[in-house]
């Protein structure tokens, strides 16, 4: 089993994220799944590793979801961490996917929340198309060939 995105899916997600960045005046945002895989990202600076942000964001959100259950809540819809200069807002797109938004304190969390709603709704449509395509298209689009590595996939540095 695998979850796959084609060029058209990524372009749609990138467009939604770019619009969100402009409207919410944020610095960066990414979409990831609960396993920590990055599906798309915009504006996440080179010094901020998107893989790391998605792994930690997914961990934080998963932990908060379990906390919600302990408190008798079905879920917490969003997580917000405020820093001195930068803050982060994480919310669920659907059961499997998260939106992570990074913004400086020049922007407002209210603005981020306001525009995150329509952005997540648009992303849900894209992901639903992906899900339907995966259910109805049985043949993979690509032939995967494992490369032969005599020394193994990884080797130690010289």
């Amino acid at each position: 089993m695998a979850f796959s995105l084609v060029q058209a899916d990524v372009e749609k997600l990138d467009y939604i994220l770019r619009e969100l960045l402009i409207q919410s005046e944020s610095n960066g945002c990414l979409v990831c799944d609960y396993s920590g895989y990055v599906l798309a990202q915009q504006g996440v600076e080179d010094q901020q590793d998107p893989l790391l942000i998605s792994a930690l964001g997914a961990g934080v959100f998963s932990a908060s979801r379990e906390l919600a259950r302990l408190l008798g809540e079905e879920k917490f819809s969003a997580v917000f961490h405020q820093g001195e200069r930068k803050s982060i807002f994480i919310c669920a797109v659907n059961l499997d996917v998260l939106l992570v938004v990074i913004f400086t304190n020049d922007a407002s969390v209210g603005l981020v929340k306001l525009y995150a709603g329509p952005a997540t709704a648009a992303m849900r449509e894209v992901l639903e198309e992906v899900r339907l395509r995966e259910e109805t298209v049985p043949v993979p689009e690509h032939t995967f060939v494992l490369m032969e590595e005599a020394g193994g996939v990884f080797s130690s540095k010289p």
Binding site: M1, Y37, L39, D49, L56, S62, P140, F144, L146, V153
Partner: protein, 211 residues
């Protein structure tokens, strides 16, 4: 569950190091981080207590050119081994593609090893997976210590399911067996990925393309 991005030509796979507390999971990742070149690895991030016990998880991304035409990214995680962190282990196991079960070879740790393995099987089944259907490697760690169980005993104790799984004797502290374990689980996960995507084994797929 693997993730394929055809736009960026990336395949993402998740590998989790599992085992009882202080068995060497974090040490494995630390050694891998030291051994690999900068082009293969990202930063190792550890969410740990002040006493260096893993609290939530360790995380390190690795990259390799393992599948033709794609960059394969391995997301390496460890889980906290202490019994009370079971819920956290379940969260980290979500979407796993391959597991390294690290066993502590010391005689007094045998019961914990078995409990941890049963815990792994239970947590996988709770999320709809099965330990028998998930690629995994057994690593018998701490073989450098003086009073440890021999490998054949550990095989009898832990590798006793219907299908024998690959196992490696190791000493993570000295680096022995660490890279071998990584390469073994990477190969298993990749073979499983190719097989589930194409319905053929990696060897059959290679022959088909060469024809």
């Amino acid at each position: 569950m693997a993730f394929i991005n055809y736009a960026t030509r990336e395949i993402q796979l998740k590998i989790v190091y599992y085992g009882c507390g202080l068995c060497g999971k974090t040490t494995n990742l630390q050694v891998i981080h030291e051994l690999l070149g900068d082009d293969s690895k990202g930063k190792l991030t550890s969410l740990a207590t002040n006493q260096d016990r893993t609290l939530f998880f360790d995380f390190m991304p690795l990259a390799a050119e393992a599948i033709k035409g794609f960059t394969t990214k391995f997301q390496m995680y460890t889980v906290p081994g202490q019994v009370m962190y079971n819920l956290t282990r379940r969260l980290v196991l979500k979407g796993v593609d391959g597991i390294v079960f690290v066993a502590d070879s010391q005689w007094e740790k045998m019961e914990e090893n078995v409990e941890s393995f049963n815990n792994l099987a239970e947590n996988l089944s709770l999320q709809g997976d099965s330990v028998d259907k998930t690629p995994y490697v057994l690593q018998y760690n701490k073989q450098d210590l003086p009073d440890v169980a021999p490998v054949n005993f550990l095989e009898f104790l832990l590798n006793n399911r219907g299908v024998r799984h690959p196992s490696i004797a190791s000493s993570a502290k000295t680096g022995q067996g660490v890279l071998e374990t990584l390469n073994l689980i990477a190969r298993l996960v990749l073979n499983n990925f190719v097989r589930t995507q194409t319905g053929k084994s990696a060897a059959e797929q290679r022959e088909l393309v060469l024809m």
